[in-house]
Symmetry: C2
Subunit: 324 residues, 2 copies
């Protein structure tokens, strides 16, 4: 399968602008194994400070089309832009599926200054939510100054993934209330920008008023989320949307809020990573030979549950100490 | 506060029949700390094989009154009986609240061959679900051959607690469908015995037929759950209920199912205990001085999340190895 390349060499090539190296590097990052762990500090150190924009909202709200329209708008301003499309419900991952889940217009697909990466869960949401921030860091290191993160669906996990972004755009439609009733408050809470897409449909002004009223019910914040209207299919309102996103970017930078938020996200990420690894170690220990002997003695009633737990934890501690 | 007694001495006294020592021992067991851990193997080894009966069902179904009626019935057969009343929603725990949450008639309250223990969550459901099986083991070691476990409510956690029993009794009322619709299938699945209590109310035969029909939809099992009717307030049908419970006990013993189930429960318990302790260690490590330095460096961006996780896990491994 070709020559063996170290993750380190892939990282150097990706930083140098090699798109194929970047794609392979991202697969190493997503896998999250030892090769990734070795280069994780270098990826972090190589970060240049990309601005990340998360798009979330009800299925069918037009997130994919709006993402494509935003890509076109960002390119109009001369900036390079990457898209990370996350589908926690799909078992397929990898860079090869663009044009499938992400529907970019042809001019964006062939544009060397546009990069698309699809990510899926492979059944492990814990793994996915750990991988997304590392994929963003890798794109940052590789010199992509804007990263758009698009998720499928509006479940808890999808919203959590969108929260990896500096700016969260919630995409709704006229008469949105019926579809996402249960999640309404949660969506408004995370929104830095609210977009009523498909604004050529009836009821758009009522929906905008409805949203503005709900936003005013909340407490006064230094950043007041704007409510915008777009028609993603013909690009109407997308210039204004990008303007507000860059306003928010400036607001975050000037107030120090960006660094504060990123620090908080890193801490949350470490907590999740530690818990994930501890759980992983304990299940591997249970399946090991020594672990199976302990479980066997427990099942036969030769030892009690507290003794069995203590022995398994001692085994786990040994493995954790060895592994690092 | 009196002389200091070792947990070991409390256990010896409790095994010898001292009720006050048992109450204090149970508090040590519930606390789950180092004194308990030292004697956990002795408690387990002293077990004589008590039969445990869990009662669960909709709030207001009459579980408390039925528990009292069962205590009376068990006493009529000459056996000693203990009651563990679990309320995950209450912050109060300890043995002093009997007559409050558990409504036993006076003759049972003053009976030296009846023992009641109330347990509550103190806000930590993980702790409670770990404590219940150890409390049962302690009662077993202290020579209580029958333990009735009564839970308040029918949430997931309450059902999980009831599953610590050898025999699970699901208590319903005529026309039960409206109250517990969402949980119907789950309740039928865990039931070894179904009781339609308040059988003097209208609709009892329809409810019995309804339940029997639903049970027959399930796959054929070596033990077919019986559907019984009781009027707990006057004791009607409680003799038959106890008969079926002892039939189930014999079935479990003869088929080897009892040991199989208990082994499975012990394994599940150990898994929960290991995860609980690992989570606990990781949060204590994060709050330690060394942990706070790592989190601080992460927040400032001096180290990356993977490095921070690795360092926290190494700290945790050290603590885990030291603690055992």
């Amino acid at each position: 399968m070709g020559e063996r390349e170290s993750a380190d060499a892939l990282l150097r090539s990706a930083i140098g602008g090699d798109r194929r190296a970047l794609a392979r590097l991202l697969s190493v990052v997503e896998a999250g194994g030892a090769p990734f762990r070795v280069i994780a500090p270098q990826i972090f150190a190589a970060g240049r400070g990309t601005h990340t924009v998360g798009l979330t909202g009800a299925p069918g709200a037009g997130k994919s089309t709006l993402t494509d329209a935003l890509v076109t708008e960002v390119r109009r301003h001369g900036s390079r832009v990457a898209v990370v499309a996350v589908d926690p419900s799909s078992p397929l991952s990898g860079g090869a599926i663009l044009g499938d889940r992400v529907r970019l217009r042809q001019q964006n697909v062939v544009d060397d200054d546009v990069y698309v990466r699809s990510m899926a869960s492979r059944g492990q949401l814990g793994g996915l939510s750990l991988a997304v921030p590392e994929v963003i860091r890798t794109l940052d290191a590789a010199g992509w100054p804007v990263v758009l993160i698009e998720t499928v669906g509006v479940g808890q996990s999808e919203v959590a993934i969108t929260e990896n972004a500096d700016t969260t755009v919630v995409v709704l439609n006229p008469g949105w209330g019926d579809e996402v009733q249960a999640n309404k408050a949660g969506l408004l809470e995370i929104a830095d920008v609210l977009v009523v897409n498909k604004a050529d449909r009836p009821g758009v002004q009522a929906t905008v008023r409805d949203l503005e009223r709900m936003l005013h019910l909340g407490k006064v914040q230094p950043w007041a989320p704007a409510v915008l209207t777009t028609i993603a299919t013909d690009g109407t309102g997308v210039d204004r949307l990008w303007q507000v996103i860059t306003d928010h970017q400036r607001f975050l930078a000037e107030t120090g809020e960006r660094e504060h938020r990123r620090a908080q996200r890193r801490i949350a990420e470490v907590r999740e990573r530690v818990l994930h690894e501890l759980t992983d170690v304990s299940s591997r220990v249970e399946r090991s030979h020594a672990g199976a002997l302990i479980i066997g003695a427990l099942a036969k009633g030769e030892i009690d549950p507290v003794t069995a737990s203590d022995r398994l934890i001692r085994l786990a501690a040994g493995r954790m100490a060895d592994a690092r």
